[in-house]
């Protein structure tokens, strides 16, 4: 018996796996499956598309360019780089209630925050409050790591250096009277950025931590003075700073500036005239950029974007169309054969 077993030592195992007989599902792309399948998928997509489109249509967006390239633009006077501390007022009116919560964005175009070297030019350790990184910033910040006197720049790097510094104040003009619209600057950055990723050094007062460092070259004031009114919004955890540090994906982008959620504006901006006071600081014309402000409300799927709904509708229709084409061809060539 032992010998007999030995004799078939080389015999392969007869298992489904070794004999390649694993049970398998063989999808067959035949007309019977494909055509109904296409119709079903197409219809489902059209359904989703319609829903998305309708949702998207309900979102209101108000965009106002204030670059000031145009001579008629109220900010034209500020577009000259030599003019400092320029302020311009942007007037606009709403015909109907702009439903809340209203998000207030600023937008830049032709601005390459995703430029490879720019995007890397920062020091995350420094921004997380690591004091060692204060004194010797990472090489990645170069050439914005040290100033001419070899003093470390905090926060270092090109991103921080180029921080957007226009400020906006919104007034509702009621009967010629400008009434300040409260803007909510809290929670506009990612929760994790504000609470985990970016940390001020645990030195109090905060100013001391910055001893021996210099502010970024373009900044008018050091980081510990970004928001002197609120220590929880100062330094590296300043929300505007956080928003800026999150690099935009595309050269035309908007970033959240404030939300309008408080008081009487909780339901949205009522119809009427509004005036936006802009502290115009940020130069964009040198690189053919534009600046704009955007008011928008959001739905469950984010801001206004009709594209996705259209995409669903188009793809869905294509599926249906294809199934019809196939049906025609199939009917013409297949059915006579079956007889």
């Amino acid at each position: 018996m032992v010998k007999a077993e030995k004799e078939i030592a080389n015999r392969p195992d007869n298992t489904a796996f070794t004999q390649q007989r694993l049970p398998a599902w063989q999808p067959m792309l035949s007309a019977g499956i494909v055509i109904p399948g296409f119709v079903l998928i197409g219809l489902a997509f059209i359904g989703i598309g319609v829903a998305l489109f309708v949702t998207s249509r309900s979102i209101e967006v108000l965009e106002i360019d204030y670059t000031g390239e145009d001579k008629n633009s109220p900010c034209f006077k500020c577009s000259d780089q030599d003019v400092k501390n320029c302020v311009c007022n942007l007037e606009f009116s709403l015909d109907s209630l702009f439903e809340g919560p209203v998000f207030f964005y600023y937008g830049l175009s032709n601005y390459f925050q995703n430029y490879r070297k720019y995007a890397a030019s920062r020091d995350d350790d420094q921004l997380s409050g690591d004091l060692d990184a204060f004194t010797s910033p990472s090489d990645s910040c170069s050439p914005f790591d040290l100033n001419g006197n070899d003093k470390p720049i905090v926060p270092c790097g090109a991103i921080a250096n180029s921080m957007f510094n226009d400020t906006f104040v919104l007034y509702r003009v009621v009967n010629g009277v400008k009434k300040l619209v409260p803007l909510d600057g809290k929670g506009i950055a990612w929760w994790t950025d504000y609470n985990v990723k970016y940390r001020n050094p645990t030195v109090t007062p905060l100013k001391n931590a910055f001893n021996g460092t210099v502010k970024p070259i373009s900044w008018p004031k050091p980081a510990y003075q970004l928001d002197t009114s609120d220590p929880a919004n100062n330094g590296f955890i300043n929300q505007d700073f956080l928003v800026w540090m999150r690099r935009a994906a595309l050269p035309d982008f908007r970033k959240l500036y404030r939300r309008i959620t408080e008081g009487e504006y909780e339901k949205g901006l009522p119809a009427g005239n509004y005036s936006l006071k802009i502290a115009y600081n940020y130069p964009v014309l040198s690189f053919h950029g534009t600046k704009k402000v955007v008011f928008s409300n959001v739905s469950w799927m984010g801001g206004k974007n009709e594209f996705l709904g259209i995409a669903y509708l188009v793809v869905g229709s294509l599926c249906v169309l294809m199934s019809i084409v196939m049906l025609i061809v199939y009917a013409k060539f297949k059915f006579p054969e079956d007889d």
Partner: protein, 1520 residues
Amino acid sequence: MARDSEEDPKAAKRQRKRKQKENKTRTVHANILYDHAKGEENPNRHYANNKIKTTKYTVLSFLPKNLFEQFHRFANVYFVFIALLNFVPVVNAFQPELALAPVVFILSVTAIKDLWEDYRRHRSDNEINHMDCLVYCRVERRYVEKFWKEVRVGDFIRLRCNEILPADVLLLSSSDPDRLCHIETATLDGETNLKQRQVVRSFLDLDCDFDPLKYNGIIECEKPNNDLNRFRGYIVHRSGRRDALYKENLLLRGCTIRNTEDAVGIIIYAGHETKAMLNNNGPRYKRSKLERQMNVDVFWCVIILLVMCLFTAVGHGLWMFQYGDKRPVFDVLSPEGTDLSPVMSAIYLFLTMIIVFQVLIPISLFVSIEIVKICQVFFIHQDLDLYDEETDSNLQCRALNITEDLGQMQYIFSDKTGTLTENKMVFRRCTVAGVEYSHDANAKRLAMYQEMDSEEEECPSRGGTLPRRDSVGSHQSAKVVLRSQSTKSHRRTGSRAEAKRASILSKHTAFSSPMEKDITPDPQLLDKVNECGSQMDFMRFHSQPMSQLPSDLADVLDFFVALTICNTVVVSSPNQPRQKQQLLQPGHQPLLHPRLLSVLSSPSAESTLTKLDEEQNLQQAFSPVPPQYDGRPLSAAEGELRYEAESPDEAALVYAARAYKCSLVRMRFELKSPVKTIEDFIKRFTPSRLTSGSNSSSSSSLVTNRSFTRGCSSVLSSPSAESTLTKLDEEQNLQQAFSPVPPQYDGRPLSAVEGELRYEAESPDEAALVYAARAYKCSLVGRLPDQVTVELPHLGKLSFELLHTLGFDSTRKRMSVVVRHPLTDQITVYTKGADSAIMELIRPPDTGNSKGKRHKKILSRTQHFLNLYAADGLRTLCIAKKVLSKEQYACWLQRHLEAETAIQGREELLFESALRLETNLQLLGATGIEDRLQDGVPETIASLRQAGLQIWVLTGDKQETAVNIAYACKLLDPEEEILTLNADSQEACAVLLEESLHYIQAKFLCSSSEHTTTKSYHSNVSPFGIYTPPPPPSSCPPAPPAVHQLGLVIDGRTLAYALDRSLEDKFLAVAQSCRSVLCCRSTPLQKSMVVKLVRNKLKVMTLAIGDGANDVSMIQVADVGVGISGQEGMQAVMASDFALPRFRYLQKLLLVHGHWCYSRLANMILYFFYKNAMFVALIFWYQFYCGFSGSSMIDQWYLIFFNLMFSAFPQLITGTLDKDVSAETLQQLPQLYTNGQNSEEYKPYMFWMNMIDAFYQSLVCFFIPYFAYADSDVDLFTWGTPITSLALFTILVHLGIETKTWTRMNWLCISFSVSLFFTVALCYNAYCPTCFSPSNPYWSMQRLLQDPLFYLLCVITPAAALLPRYFYRACQGTLFPSPVQVGRQLDKLPAETRRNILSLSGVKMGLPLGPKPHFLSLGKTSFKGCNKKQQQQQQQRRGLQTDSDKELPSADKDTLPYTKDAAPPASKDCLDQTLDASSWITSTPLLSPSDGVQFPPDGDSFCVKYSRGSEDRLKSDQSS
């Protein structure tokens, strides 16, 4: 030498080293002489020791050496270059350490694989190195156990039965009485028969145990080399005497000692210098066609990469340029603070982009392909259908990386003998002295076996999913049939149990099957043999000279004697090795030997023995059987015999031997030759010996002295004595477990397995002849180097003293033995060989006397029968003899001995010597041996041909035999015409080829409308013929040569001319238009030349299959070489890429595994290109939105590991497991194989289609998120991560579309991939808030998963991206399915329906499954237009032809297409006309019908012979 070194060791060393280099010989001294001087003085110390080390690396050298080896691969260097480029700050794109990851990963995967392999080698080395053997130790004066690795050159080694040889050993002593040692060389060459090795000549006459201490020779021999069949050297004794050494003296490492209980030898080569190790070369590496194609596309990928980089770089330069001197705020200066010019910036960026886009070059593709191929090899290896139960062998893949080539073969070149046929020779018929004996009963017996075969074959092929059970059932039923008809079952087809038993029995030795053994004698011939025997008996009784025997009877006797002895067959009995071991029980031998020796060495004993010799009754001396052995009273005759044993010593000796079961005591005496001169010569090579000992396979029979018969003729002639002898024999059988007597002889059936003589022959023909002779009671009962014992009817056992054996060689094509005939005492030469070789050497009959007339008649009649045999497909051999006078012999012998002892050019001299002897022969007769077709060969050939494979058979056989075998295996169809090319000269060959071409053109080109619509043979009969894709119209004018219903037969000589450079194109043109080509009488070199020619000129994929050494060159030349294992040695297997146990497995190997491997790999490679291009293109599109800055929205971790981890596994699973069509359908529809032949899965345009698809899909994957997130505050990586995920989904779904079978593994793997990606991403994004600059993706994925937009994107993007492909596939599958898809549709049908359809389709031409011929007709219309043009051209041409050559038939009649049912009536007319008109084309009804081969009624087969006519023509040309 040793003394030299004392004076100036260094100089001596140098000198010796130089000397060793210069010397072509190796000198081996015995080590024991130098035991005291360890190392330094030992002259053998420079030789390799026996420790083997096949590992490549050591612990220290592993890393550098392995890396060095890996960097030989260009791709690795490239990727390392890219990784290093990343360390340059100006151009770096990723974290430098991270960029190293893929390269390190790939390198380490390969390194681990290498390490594991090396470790396995190390372990097996270790195991081998620590095996034990007995080595003589001078200090202890005995053999001590040592490890193999401690053995050194020059050691004396003692070998016991069943021990494996540790090194190449020169045999100095053997316990065998004949100083023989039997070895089994299966591990070396796969031949399972035992081979004899002989003790070195000068040690032959040692009558006691070999004493190493007395050894004083110095051996000079060749340097180590790998030629297993060559060993030359000599041994120099102290006396100065030189003795030549042959390969017969050398025992090779790895062989096993069998049937010899004890042997001693000296080690000549050890360790890596042994022949076995030198022959050991690893697996072969070839590059497959698919891989070559892939490399082209990898090159295209590089071009695409460079173009993309260049584009980006230029874009970046322009982008920089537009800003001019005003730097935008987001521009970052170089670290030095200096400004970069746009041009410099662009150049740096170019390098950066190479790094970023590196993914486009599929780094993991090479590794993946290797992994997939290993899996494919595993599956092929595991296939039960390719497992041969009988030999317990399965397919071996020796080349690991050309599995997919199996699916792309176009030409098969096959050997015939042993490949198509079993190489099991069956004696069929013979002619003796001009009289034919048809052996009808034998034919019937064989037919029965054949029936059994076919009966059995049908059952398993129906098998479906349970082939095992079915076949078992059929085996059992077959067994019942078999049992009822024959007492023995055929080994090949017997039940499993029986097969198993047979294989157990043949564990150590190969024996013939019953089919080959049980030959039913022809009654007429049997009568003659009996008559002859009794007459001889009578004459001997009356002391008449033997020459008075009627010449026909004498011829019959001589014929059978020649069959029996003119060979190298060794006799053994099946269970001898077992008995051997019993004998080997300690105690017996030492006791026996001294006593025997003491008796035999005493002068009195010797004189007694001499006396015995003179009284010529040696035989009787030990026939008495001890009473306890056999209860029966001994007959008077035996009593007499006992009485004749005069000396009590002798009797004692015999009895002693018996008591120790040493059943045989053999004694040999010096020849007493009447001629003095011969005696002197003979003395030198048959020295007197007196040996004793146990039996061995060759001496396991009773051996008689030459004078035995004369002496006891009185006893033997009486019937009672005869029966007594038989009985005695039987008793011997009981004792020795074999019977020298054929079953019919004593009327009692013997059991099939026990008690049977087994014949082991180097070639199966020889065994067949010996078995045939045995059927006529001329049985070979023993063979020794110098003696053959034959048992003849009425005459008993005769010993032929074997003076010389002139072995077979392929040049002479014959072998001869020179014997002293015991009856006539003449020196007789028996020659056996190919008819062509023998017929030339026959003495021209002297027509003057009646004898001469008779000879002439015999000659002509034999020739006639030979032709008949050949026409029956039998292998023919002629038997001839020659009687030498003593003077002639002495004269020849002198020169022969000179040749034998020559050191230089020995082979040539021996060859010439043989030529001198083999002249003026007298023809005795001829035999026809059938080489049976292997199971399933015709079916395999038919289905391979249906698969579009052109099959050429290249054989060394003669033309008629080959043609008949070709008919039998359906290679040639009786309905097709055969062009036979036989030419005598280059010119004739040229003319023949020219004429053949004309003929083919005239006959077929005129009817080309036929061949274009139905293109070729296989599309004609195939049910799926209309699926064969019509060639694109553009390729219509130079349409590939059509394959017609033509067979081409060409012989070796003509082939040699045709392969000439000037004619090869014509030859190919002719051969290409023939459906099958048969090259006969071709040499191994020609075989390889033909393969090379076809491969190089036609640019096709070739497969060569063969089993013997003569096929090796062909196997090596072909793209894929296949060896048939286990038939004729291992040489073919060693050279092959795949080794199959049987030819019919080729069908599944090619049609199923080849198809699968090809389509899997092709699809995987295409997918790989697509996948990488699609992924890289995403980043490319992004460059338009990031100032061409080389920025990437995909996190670098995802970018690096996307290929290595996230998307790596599903494609591996699909590449390994996907089955486009099931195995059953693939086998039943061989047409599907054309898929691979035409490279339909991977055409060059497909690469570009895939690239375009990849770019399209990446556009979708990029721009849907782009627009979806436009005008939002999305940040870089929150936008990039969904794109990565979408790309992954798209890629996986794409794979899903391309996957044809979804097993659990596929589901598992795809879900694993997806979950791996998300798990890794979630972990990675939660791991560290401040790390992974610059992306720093902390919490991105987590946020993303909360975003409904992400899910919406996940649905729409893959759908939109894959819509076109899916639509295309759906249309293709529904509206114009490819044959493969039809196959898949068939698979889906229930098994019953499918079988019906398939069986229908085999008969009907139409398409039962009928998917839309309309679509094809669309294709055809354009095609027909093209046809018309061609037809017009042809009509013009035809016009010309008819003008110039009126002989040619009008072509219009041929326009009808052939169908299988309607054999070509039109063409027949056409041909008839041709035949009438031309003198040079003749139609001969080629063959007579024979058993087993179905021939058409006469007239349906044509043979267009050009040979005669053209020769005549040439002659007439010359004369005029």
